[in-house]
């Protein structure tokens, strides 16, 4: 159900990506009124490039975008490192085993209970992806609202700096630690949900 989209398989998932960029515009530009560029009905920025990865949950029947997030490599330009390093007291964490979570976005049509379910599936996928690929931490810039939601998921989080006002909103930088206990922590907090994470469509060798 949750599909990982990267530069390698983006051609097969162009419809899902388009839906995602449309919902990103509806959420971040129309609803939250962020001062970010948009291209007609799509929201894209300089970090949507060949190195960015996406976890997308789409409705299996209608292919409609339900929820998604963008993962950025921290050894490359990213939100915390490039735009808001001031949020980190002890340097911006960066490395091949650390990704940044950005653009967490839900379909505007979801009811609260469904949004929660989509959120939990995406979060489970984040943990599973990390464990599969040796990612040991995720970083993120978070509002106070999202900080509470993130902490409530049960996984181990630590602050990278004190909250500060940026563009009229109180935000902070947080680090989410992934290790062999993470899945159990999600289960204990009631946030584990089957993600059915798909990484790639492998071309199977044709049988003779």
């Amino acid at each position: 159900m949750v599909q990982l989209v990267t530069a390698e398989n983006r051609a097969e998932h162009s419809v899902a990506l388009d839906h995602m960029h449309r919902d990103r515009k509806k959420t971040f530009v129309d609803l939250l009124k962020w001062k970010i560029p948009c291209d007609g009905e799509f929201e894209r920025d300089q970090f949507d490039d060949d190195f960015s990865e996406y976890l997308i949950l789409a409705d299996p029947e209608t292919a409609e975008h339900l929820g998604s997030m963008r993962l950025l490599r921290t050894e490359r330009p990213h939100i915390l490192g490039t735009l808001f390093p001031v949020l980190c007291d002890q340097g911006v964490p960066a490395g091949p085993d650390i990704r940044e979570i950005t653009r967490l976005c839900f379909s505007r049509h979801l009811k609260a209970a469904d949004r929660r379910l989509v959120f939990h599936r995406l979060v489970t996928a984040l943990a599973e992806y990390a464990l599969l690929c040796g990612i040991t931490a995720y970083t993120a810039v978070s509002s106070m609202h999202w900080l509470n939601q993130t902490l409530a998921l049960g996984w181990r989080c630590t602050p990278l700096g004190l909250p500060q006002m940026i563009d009229g909103e109180l935000v902070c930088a947080v680090m989410i630690h992934i290790d062999r206990n993470t899945i159990q922590l999600l289960r204990d907090a009631g946030s584990y949900q089957t993600s059915d994470l798909r990484l790639a469509e492998a071309a199977l060798a044709a049988a003779a």
Binding site: M144, N148, P159, Q164, C172
Partner: protein, 258 residues
């Protein structure tokens, strides 16, 4: 930065506590370190009836805590009500500009002052699907809140609430894990109940008297605190006394052919 180190240490220790008392001690210490006098980490529910599944950790002046609980102020306290209109921490002095204060609420603010609480800072902690809550830090007397530590209080409030919530979830799930024991005969009866058999039919199948079957079943219901047999069947499957296959009456396929 000294403040961040203190927050990180608090988070590390509070994540490891096994008891509410241990968390209360940590909260009391960090409250003082930040320059506040009192803390209250609460779910906005009637704690008289919902104590088992709610958070209530505080060291407020006793007389105020008693009034709060006894008069059910969780519903009308202006600080708690204001916390429902925002996700960001706020000083109590801001409350009149956040919500329309009723006469009762103005009286509560007066009473708060008379009971020895001055200004305070409230950090909302709303988890969708759960009761609203908050972590509050207050000053004694007429002292003003230490504004330079508001960002620290914001973080401590959020992380402390999560640590308390984790303890509560563990306490609730451990309570559920004490599963009632059933005798072998009782399990056999419950399996047949799940398959729709009456007591008379069960008695025939197991070679018992119907009165005996009835006794076994009533006792099992008592152990689970349920009154209907269908509830008993579900509990027994949930707790692993029966597999779903037993309850339906199907044999699982053999593992190996032949």
């Amino acid at each position: 930065m000294g403040q961040l180190n203190d927050v990180q240490a608090f988070i590390d220790l509070s994540g490891k506590v096994k008891t509410a008392k241990a968390l209360e001690l940590l909260l009391e210490q960090i409250t003082k370190d930040m320059g506040f006098d009192y803390y209250a980490l609460v779910h906005h529910v009637d704690i008289r009836t919902k104590a088992a599944e709610s958070l209530w950790l505080e060291n407020y002046p006793r007389s105020w805590a008693e009034v709060f609980i006894a008069t059910g102020l969780y519903a009308s306290d202006p600080m708690l009500v204001a916390s429902h209109v925002t996700n960001v921490g706020f000083a109590w002095s801001e409350v009149p500009s956040m919500i329309q204060l009723t006469k009762e609420q103005k009286n509560i603010l007066e009473r708060v002052r008379r009971e020895g609480l001055g200004d305070g800072f409230t950090v909302p902690a709303h988890v969708p699907g759960e009761a609203n809550g908050s972590c509050n830090f207050a000053m004694a007397g007429s002292a003003l809140i230490p504004r330079h530590n508001i960002p620290m209080a914001q973080l401590v409030g959020s992380y402390a609430f999560q640590a308390a919530r984790k303890l509560l979830l563990r306490r609730i799930s451990e309570g559920e894990r004490v599963r009632p024991k059933l005798t072998t005969r009782q399990i056999e009866c419950v399996a047949l109940i799940a398959r729709g058999k009456s007591d008379k039919e069960i008695a025939q199948i197991l070679g018992l008297r119907p009165a005996t079957v009835n006794e076994y079943v009533e006792d099992a219901c008592r152990r689970y605190g349920v009154s209907r047999r269908i509830q008993l069947a579900f509990h027994a499957v949930h707790d692993g006394h029966l597999t779903l296959a037993d309850a339906i009456g199907i044999k699982p396929p053999p593992l190996l052919p032949g």
